[in-house]
């Protein structure tokens, strides 16, 4: 039995029919054609499917679709500005090589964004903790952590410049 739900997705209102047993990941990938969030395990163990719901990074493969009714969801597709300007995290992952195969990357960036939105000046340990649910088999995390550090720095500088105006 399909049900209709309504929620905010990447700053746009979405009304969509879903099967109540679906996960948010299924809705995103199979119905809404947003394939940035990946399925690495399907059971909440790898973090490749991470998206942000109401400010928190969540494993969308575990998130029951009915529970997003009325909530705000951000996926990797919603990070760049409509004119194509990348989010500082995306820019930093490109410049600091936070990317190898790329399968964990969307999830990594979303976990990092949830952190930086709450904590603009995280310690290395806070960064590592925020992505400890995101497994990466390629990088050993060095360049990912560097990417997040640099993004935090550049976001702070932009903020300071704006405040100075």
């Amino acid at each position: 039995m399909k049900k209709e739900i309504e929620f905010m997705l990447n700053e746009e209102k979405v009304i969509v029919e879903v099967e109540p047993h679906w996960t948010l990941l299924h809705l995103l990938r199979e119905t809404l054609e947003l394939t940035g969030a990946k399925e690495g395990c399907g059971v909440g163990e790898c973090g490749a499917c991470t998206v942000i719901v109401e400010g928190d990074a969540v494993n969308s493969c575990l998130y029951p679709v009915m529970e997003i009714e009325g909530k705000t969801v951000t996926t990797i597709e919603g990070l760049a500005k409509p004119d194509g300007t990348l989010h500082p995290l995306q820019q930093s992952f490109i410049e600091n090589n936070g990317v190898q195969c790329g399968y964990c990357t969307s999830g990594m960036i979303m976990s990092a964004k949830a952190l930086l939105d709450k904590n603009a000046d995280p310690t290395e340990n806070e960064i590592r903790t925020s992505i400890s649910g995101n497994i990466c088999r390629c990088t050993g995390y060095v360049q990912i952590v560097e990417s997040i550090k640099h993004a935090a720095g550049s976001m702070k500088n932009t903020q300071a410049a704006q405040n100075g105006k």
Binding site: I94, Q100, C101, G102, S106, C138, V142, Q143
Partner: protein
């Protein structure tokens, strides 16, 4: 100042924007009109006869479009090494491991396909099974394959020099062993594919693979299709590490279902299937005896290895050869004897994984060398330096170290880690250890016997001269090969990286054996360089005719023509470009430099589309003995690593405090990517050293086939890692480059083992070093010491 403009820089990866925005397309992100979904029926038993298969109920389920078993698939044997083709697409007489494939279903959606597979009835007669090496070798043990007597699926016996005679001359002889556990590749993207079949009989497979070429050949052979009608395309791939280096049942089944239904069929492994069909690292048991002189000179190594190979051979013959041959260096070793056995069992089959065959052998020996140094009262680092090979040395098994910065690597990590002030001087519970290793830069021969080029590359320049398109069938799987080849192409043509576009991973682009044995940088790199230089020559040749300047008096640098002598009058040429193309919005300026773009346009006027081609196969390599093909390579990369650890003696928990790593990759093409490979290798090595172990119950069923119970390193487990690049010049490599992705995993485990000993005085001869094992080892060590 570097002599290069692009090579040796830290250019961002060409695929990073797509990946950082979630736009990079992996196979699971693809769908096609009318696409069906496939599911496999797999054996719940580790060893059983198949008495009958009834698919009628599955066929009746609404939404099911096809069900295939061995009846439709046929019984063609295939596998990896032609000498051990021991698989069929579906089992027909018996199953040999849990997860063995019986049938596949295509249906309108995944849920229907899975339900239909569960409706297939199989009449099994369970057989006794063997899971360990000991069980498999026991008298009267059931045979996994009738052809493999005593369940030995491959054995190797080699001797170089005279080991027994050499041992007689030694002052110290030491025998030790090391036993490892099965490690999984555990890439984050499970294998998947989509097969399509058209009315002209063209079969196209989009697959998460490292080796489009071998998959193409295997499909053609097992399905009886003409090779020319089979195309394999690799979209972005989420890591491979060896497990995606051969054709899988998933790919075979999807193709068969597409051929039966005429519709695209998508199949994706779930995580448990990745563990069941990963073909990842074998379990190794090594015993080694090394003899040395009083002064530390290594005289001889006698080595025996036993590998638990699982149900099928896969890469296993190569694995058991590599386990021996990769000890020939990097130390001068005049005498070496090796006996290796790969044992078939009823566990999921094992295959190739990062550092193929060599990692545990290396770990065993490097721990033993430390023990020898201790008994001789030598610094283990000095013992290694004393025996170290240098460029030009050839090992006793004919591996030619055409470049080798091994000594430099040791010196670099020694100084960077402050070894001299730490080794043997840290407080109880803290320790430092080192080890070395090396690996091939590509196998000298293809997996099947052939005179084939290992790769062919074409570069095509667009008509306006603005973009050079590099086409290669090589596989970008995350390691950064697309970026590497784009950089090599840019350097070879003398143009900026931004003017190069690369398309890869498609068998329609030519031949490339793929991403395995760390071959692509050297081999595909050579072919790319040749193609790029070919383009450059064609452009300069056309220009020479127009300008009456000899080709050798010109060059192309940073996108502009360089005139080594007098600069000719260019105004006519420049005006011609612009006159022709008034409506183009990006015409070059009328300044007095002549760009590659203008020159290529002029060349196009006389020659049509400029296409440069390149190809590579290794030169004649050493070794005429049986098995010489496994280990010989045009070049070898090498690493030294130092691990600093602390051990909590109450709990047995090891914390890695720091890793210092130096790798000789020849000329670094992209420095950032080289460091990235070093970090990734160490992470995988530390995982294998500390916690990774695939476990089975007494029926051969997976106990931890998921990413929660199969422990691998998270961001919180990883120590600070210093990656130091040592550059040598490899004469056989493009611009002097060679491998980094696998040589660098060789020293990691042994560096940790040696550091643990330095911390607590205990030697451990079994992996992984989880708290329980370490705790028990400490306890045993104390009890033994108390008695004495």
């Amino acid at each position: 100042m570097s002599q290069y403009d692009v090579i040796g820089t830290r250019a961002p990866r060409v695929d990073a924007p797509a990946k950082a925005t979630g736009r990079a397309i992996f196979v699971d992100d693809m769908s096609m009109p009318g696409m069906l979904y496939g599911a496999l029926l797999q054996s719940p038993y580790a060893h059983a006869l198949i008495r009958g298969i009834d698919v009628s109920a599955a066929l009746k389920l609404p939404g099911v479009k096809a069900v295939v078993t061995h009846k439709e698939a046929g019984l063609v044997k295939y596998g990896v090494s032609p000498a051990r083709y021991d698989e069929t697409i579906f089992c027909y007489d018996k199953v040999r491991q849990v997860g063995d494939n019986i049938a596949a279903v295509a249906a309108v959606d995944m849920a229907t396909a899975v339900e239909a597979a569960s409706l297939i009835k199989v009449d099994y007669e369970e057989l006794p099974a063997v899971f360990t090496i000991e069980e498999a070798l026991a008298d009267g043990a059931p045979l996994v394959h009738d052809d493999y007597k005593r369940n030995i699926s491959a054995e190797v016996h080699q001797e170089f020099g005279d080991v027994e005679a050499a041992l007689k001359e030694c002052d110290l002889i030491k025998t030790t062993s090391l036993k490892s556990k099965r490690q999984d590749c555990a890439f984050i993207e499970p294998q998947g594919c989509i097969a399509t079949y058209d009315l002209s009989g063209n079969l196209t497979l989009y697959s998460s693979t490292q080796t489009t070429h071998y998959v193409q050949r295997s499909l053609a052979m097992a399905l009886g299709a003409p090779v020319g009608k089979v195309r394999v395309v690799k979209p972005y791939v989420g890591g491979g590490f060896g497990s995606k280096a051969s054709a899988s049942h998933l790919e075979m089944a999807a193709c068969l279902l597409a051929m039966q239904t005429g519709k695209p069929v998508k199949m994706i492994f779930d995580r448990e299937q990745v563990f069941l069909h990963g073909r990842a690292r074998h379990q190794f048991v090594h015993t080694m005896t090394t003899g040395v002189k009083k002064d530390g000179t290594i005289m001889a190594l006698k080595h025996e290895a036993w590998l638990n190979g699982g149900a099928y051979s896969s890469f296993g013959i190569a694995t058991v050869y590599y386990a021996g041959s990769l000890l020939g260096g990097p130390y001068k070793l005049p005498n070496m004897k090796y006996d290796g056995y790969r044992i078939a069992t009823n566990l999921p089959a094992c295959g190739a994984q990062r550092g193929h065959g060599g990692v545990i052998a290396r770990s065993c020996w490097e721990q033993q060398l430390d023990m020898i140094a201790e008994e001789l009262g030598m610094d283990p680092l000095e013992l290694r330096l004393k025996n170290i090979m240098t460029a030009g040395d050839v090992t006793c098994n004919d591996l030619d170290m055409s470049s080798l910065g091994m000594k430099e690597c040791i010196e670099v990590v020694r100084d960077a880690s402050d070894w001299k002030n730490k080794k043997g001087k840290l407080p109880q519970g803290k320790g430092i250890g080192m080890a070395c290793g090396f690996f091939v830069s590509g196998a000298g021969f293809p997996i099947y016997r052939s005179e084939t080029f290992h790769c062919t590359v074409t570069i095509k320049v667009t008509e306006d001269g603005g973009t050079a398109i590099v086409s290669t069938a090589s596989a970008e799987i995350g390691q950064g090969s697309d970026t590497t080849f784009a950089m090599i192409a840019a350097e070879g043509m003398g143009i900026p990286l931004g003017m190069v576009r690369i398309e890869s991973g498609d068998t329609d682009f030519g031949v490339d054996l793929g991403a395995y044995s760390s071959r692509q940088t050297l081999m595909t790199g050579q072919a790319t360089k040749q193609a790029a230089e070919n383009v450059k020559m064609q452009v300069l040749d056309a220009l020479s005719k127009e300008l009456h300047v000899p080709v050798e008096d010109m060059d192309i640098k940073k996108g502009y023509i360089v005139f080594k002598k007098d600069k000719p009058d260019l105004s006519a040429l420049k005006t011609r470009y612009i006159k022709e193309h008034r409506e183009w919005t990006d015409n070059p300026s009328l300044d007095d430099e002549l760009s590659f773009r203008e020159a290529s346009r002029i060349a196009f006027f006389t020659k049509g589309t400029i296409v440069g081609t390149g190809m590579y196969k290794p030169p004649e390599l050493g070794g005429k003995f049986k098995g010489a093909a496994v280990g010989t390579s045009p070049a070898y990369g090498c690493s030294a690593q130092i691990a600093e650890v602390s051990v909590d003696e109450q709990t047995g928990r090891i914390t890695i405090e720091k890793m210092t790593d130096a790798h000789d990759c020849g000329q670094a093409i992209n420095r950032t990517s080289v460091e990235a490979q070093m970090h990734g290798s160490m992470a995988m090595g530390l995982g294998e050293a500390l916690f990774e172990e695939v476990k089975f119950d007494d029926k051969g069923r997976l106990l931890n086939g998921d990413l929660a119970e199969y422990k691998m390193p998270t961001a919180l487990d990883m120590p600070p890692m210093e990656a130091l690049i040592v550059e040598s010049h490899e004469p056989n490599g493009p611009y002097g480059a060679k491998e980094v992705g696998e040589g660098n995993i060789m020293p990691t485990i042994a560096a940790v083992l040696n550091a643990v000993h330095d911390a607590i005085g205990v030697r451990i001869h079994e992996l992984p070093l989880n708290p329980e094992r370490v705790y028990l080892a400490i306890k045993e060590y104390r009890e033994k010491n108390a008695k004495q």
